[in-house]
Symmetry: C2
Subunit: 229 residues, 2 copies
DNA sequence: ATAATAGTGTCTGTCAGACACTATATC
DNA sequence: GATATAGTGTCTGACAGACACTATTAT
């Protein structure tokens, strides 16, 4: 009656680089799917908790150490892995652009891939990782609306414009800078002013902020896409 | 390096009975945790997909056949099951009150338990099922706000009052009947009038509705609890 | 000066909550 | 009639989008 399986973890790691939402993909160095793109991840060890396994695999394959992980879902359809029954628990992570990353064990290469230019390659992604990535993106887009998620993508201290660029990158649509400014500075405990300012290439210096303690944005920011009734 | 585990599925099955949100719990008939309350569920078979396993286990233990399942999350901490490493994928289901249910295999008893009166028993629930239930409830309360979930709890055709009772049961707070009526009848494709009416014990007959095609409520219904800034 | 970015003030439309009011049933 | 439930109309306050306007920098 009971049946044995192997447990894996896979990570959808997102960042914003140069105004574009990017996902971290490895090029597989071992069978199966050698040379194909895949999400970073690997097998869970005995007596290892799932988030621990996810963090360990990410460090091993990419050298990145993420603080916060969010469980995305589990993928366990029979046949999804040619090596046998493998159930994969997918995790989602967001971080400020750490620059290029170096490939570690089991990976021939690791790189940030802009989501916008990924459609063509999606069919060749290993396992069912294209579906996992799609679920992760939708989760991220949705969480941006009602949580302070955007602040997880930028280094502190940040400007309101930095935050706005995250929204525009993740949603792929322009946001009115003036209304956005009013909204995020007005939301309680969303961001805290440091009192400092930062001068850019041009224009008036922007106030600097740190992440606040709020866990929800009320009322939520709305994507134009959804507002269209 | 890779390590073998057993995969289980557990279900948080919710309904509204007599104005109260209720969860389906079994009384375990076998070790471990004999005689303790637990979520219905069991082990996944070889070559069986996860949602299939969840539906099969629910039918075996309770005779209930649910159409729609939603993956809630996976629970895989080492030691959560005394039998060894067991990863449980939890599913969430909503259905109109089907009346009392009969116990099937591996279960000494099956019954609907009002959430409101469950706090005391929660500590004695088997495995980590109390935590799974807590996550399922929060998911249900949250989905009620921005999806047509409430309609999944009532038999068609239903009245606006039927729907409102679902909100009040799940959220545990009163909702203004007049504003609620305006909101749900105004939301596009949320519910479709059948043209029929239904007379209750007293009062003006209510129009009857069927579920519409909308997948989102825009703008969302808001819980007073969250609105309090 | 000009251009660019940061930030404020204000108008308008929509929708929430509140609640008076009408409509139609049972007792 | 009284009472209960269904449903409409309307007022007010909050907030969205739109956008004119001011503030402060680089060139």
């Amino acid at each position: 009656m009971k049946h044995s399986a192997t447990i894996a973890v896979d990570l959808v790691v997102l960042t914003v680089r140069g105004g574009e939402l990017c996902v971290l993909l490895v090029e597989r160095g071992i069978e199966p799917y050698v040379g194909r793109y895949a999400l970073p991840g690997g097998f869970v060890l005995a007596d290892e908790d799932l988030p621990e396994a996810a963090k360990r695999e990410l460090i091993e394959e990419t050298g990145l150490d993420v603080a916060h992980l969010e469980q995305l879902g589990s993928y366990g359809k029979p046949g999804r892995d040619p090596r046998g029954r493998v159930l994969s628990v997918a995790y989602l992570a967001f971080l400020p652009d750490p620059g290029p990353v170096a490939a570690g064990s089991d990976a021939a290469a690791v790189a940030w891939h802009p989501i916008a230019g990924l459609e063509a390659d999606l069919a060749s992604v290993a396992f069912d990782h294209a579906a996992i990535l799609k679920d992760g993106l939708e989760r991220a887009r949705s969480k941006l609306e009602y949580t302070p998620l955007a602040a997880a993508f930028v280094e502190e201290p940040f400007t309101v414009s930095d935050l706005r660029e995250v929204y525009e990158a993740v949603w792929g649509e322009a946001v009115d800078p003036r209304n956005f400014h009013r909204k995020v500075t007005g939301a309680r405990d969303l961001i805290n002013a440091t009192g400092e300012t930062r001068t850019g290439d041009r224009g008036r210096p922007a106030n600097l902020y740190e992440r606040g303690s709020a866990e929800l944005i009320l009322p939520p920011m709305m994507r134009a896409e959804l507002r269209v009734n």
